[in-house]
Assembly symmetry: C2
Homo-oligomer: 494 residues x 2
Amino acid sequence: MAVELKDLTKADDNYSQWYNELVVKAGLAENSAVRGCMVIKPYGYAIWEKMQAALDKMFKDTGHQNAYFPLFIPKSFFSREASHVEGFAKECAVVTHYRLKNDPEGNGVVVDPAARLEEELIVRPTSETIIWNTYKNWIQSYRDLPILCNQWANVVRWEMRTRLFLRTAEFLWQEGHTAHATREEAIEEAEKMIRVYQDFAENWMGVPVVVGHKSPNERFAGAEDTLTIEALMQDGKALQSGTSHFLGQNFAKAFDVQYVNKEGKLEYVWATSWGVSTRLMGALIMAHSDNNGLVLPPKLAPIQVVMVPIYKGEEQLQVMAERMNAIADELKAKGVSVKVDLRDNVRSGFKFAEYELKGVPVRLALGPRDMENGTIELARRDTLTKEVVPQEGLTERIVALLDEIQQNIFKKALDYRNSMITRVDTWEEFVEVLNTKGGFISAHWDGTPETEQAIKDATKATIRCIPIDAEPEEGKCIFTGKPSHCRVLFAKSY
Amino acid sequence: MAVELKDLTKADDNYSQWYNELVVKAGLAENSAVRGCMVIKPYGYAIWEKMQAALDKMFKDTGHQNAYFPLFIPKSFFSREASHVEGFAKECAVVTHYRLKNDPEGNGVVVDPAARLEEELIVRPTSETIIWNTYKNWIQSYRDLPILCNQWANVVRWEMRTRLFLRTAEFLWQEGHTAHATREEAIEEAEKMIRVYQDFAENWMGVPVVVGHKSPNERFAGAEDTLTIEALMQDGKALQSGTSHFLGQNFAKAFDVQYVNKEGKLEYVWATSWGVSTRLMGALIMAHSDNNGLVLPPKLAPIQVVMVPIYKGEEQLQVMAERMNAIADELKAKGVSVKVDLRDNVRSGFKFAEYELKGVPVRLALGPRDMENGTIELARRDTLTKEVVPQEGLTERIVALLDEIQQNIFKKALDYRNSMITRVDTWEEFVEVLNTKGGFISAHWDGTPETEQAIKDATKATIRCIPIDAEPEEGKCIFTGKPSHCRVLFAKSY
């Protein structure tokens, strides 16, 4: 299908519309016939697969194993953990029947009222309950601990307002669920995993993040502490991109999971859970892309280098194709993913626009003069610059360039993010910065949920996190003037 | 948790119970709190991941891309394709509501009657309908074809009698869905993919399969032709292990998917779909395992080599650990996955039994005499033989041995399978072979669904397939005596 780049809304004109259009036009995802559920298209899924592969390796390198738990959770499981049921069991997909039958009136099929489930099943919005119900059977002694499991799965939360990747009724994610003998070990695990997420966000996605604790208002339902990575999008809004929870003994108590410790005494098990989702795709898109389309970091780009011939006639195309395939083979041998686009039904200008839209990091164009001179035109997607370079040494140049682009994309995002953290000390400043500049606002807060809620009601800004490395600093809450001992980061968010 | 090998039922005593116990005791899977849904445990999931990786590469090497489509399908979609609705829309999980609320009577949460969906959603039992509804928007011209998509997903079929891996309400699978401009190309695709499955079953799982066409009775609901790979389990029952369907234009017509051909005329698109599932785990287990536990082909074994020290005292253990780690590092450098088991709370005999139960292909045991002599004891799981070999050249020996084991496992299964294909020409023979020897019975059939059904009613045997390479041969139907033009394979099956 034709790429209609000229129709892409400009990010400055309407960021939200630009995002929605970009996701669809770049072939990443689209809305499906089912309200709130998306179709992840092959190009988008190829990026997600690269994310999965990198994360999965990081999880395994830190000692985790994958497993798979049921899609359905008995309704009663949610009631076991008091705050969890408040947070999760409300907006969810409920399975009530297990059979359809032919409509006696001839209109297709209808639910068979005789096939009503005794207990309704909930399509998992998250799996703590079913997993802790399972762990009960896996854990008897301290020798069975720790359990370090992860699952890659789909989950469903019946969101009323949905947006591709950012908030969908069904989404794909991973959820780690670990069980530990001690409080300290569980806390260490939760911190280790948020650092894994930070590492991934920064070094793979090129997205700088602030690591911090959620305030109690924003904590996961059932957690004692929630750690988060918060990224900043180009429109100055924050995006929570991953969370890691210290769950204390809440789920162990709810599902009666105890172990015999080295001293022979029964104790409740300590838990963590942590997850990132296809929401990361939204972060990736909104952190780097521009009016020409996606900008993908080379490490996650399904196609790292595209090659386009500028030719006249079939004969010239043949000769160029041979040259380009030889270059491509050399690049592939170095682990670079390359596409040679020999389509003869679209012009090269169209191809250029298409691969810019798709965020391919490097474009090589080979023209008749290049064939004569042993050169090739090399264009960078991140800087939109191009230069003519010798074909000799091209592979080494590109391998180095991909690394440079990866770092440049991160640096650009980091510079922007750093320029968008504003320290304010008064309510007037706070409101002004929020409404003009946006971004993160570093400010004092009195530590109460009531104040956070009042600030949210007044401005829509929430506490994104209490940075994990926040320096102690005495100050006064910007809203109430009450004493505060450190600054927290506020922002409007997705 | 302790491995209770001594409690494993013998396969000869009760094959079905042996299987169920083995799946649980080897740590592959277990039943969950949700009827018919299993938990795939880390060791089982690690095997499934290896299957996925190998298959995924084969799909990509044949030009397919992954994508992701919604978990839910609107009920009305099923009614669009007449035979599909009969086959699939009946025993399924039906989502009728999207919210719970606190029980006014204080008993946890209840379904909120105000949150009833206008149209019920079915948890996908297979995705042809939602995918073809999506393809409608992706396909306008012949230039948009072929579409070669695959998805890795969970699906739900509300089976009444379930068995771990073999038949579960929820299972994991991949489903390929392709769209083509011509009938010939779609048929070629369906055949290509069943050959990919055959290649995987034989060369990765070590499970020989017969490739053939399903009889109309056993065809996929909505298909014009279903190709299958049929494996034989050690109890003489067949297991359908993968299917590839030529769907004709049925789904294109049901969802009005047409394209403009090169001549500018509108035509309906041709389709295939193909899938394998976690059922393959059942095939893998039942094709090779024995009374000592699993026998895994090296290519799919999460641990290919386990090393166990036979030692007295901490000091000896230290020295041995060093030696074993050095050997392990050399093996790992050659891509062999190795586990060094230094646990000091269980005896080596216990470890031996445990790794036999888990099907680890090669076990190395290092004792004090080996330390002196520069030798090591090498045991094969497939043959249960052991020998003392020099440490020198061990890596090369093991790399070669793993390959030999892979081939031996396949050969053993192949010899068994071949010995279990019996040609019969009379009904008496048919019944006798079925009731005594089991296995595949190659016999003449008159080609009618009525006869197949009658044979099934009389014996529980079904036509597993009409082998794709069946030689034409004139004969008489074993049941009706009517003329037949080739032999088909009957068997009792899972």
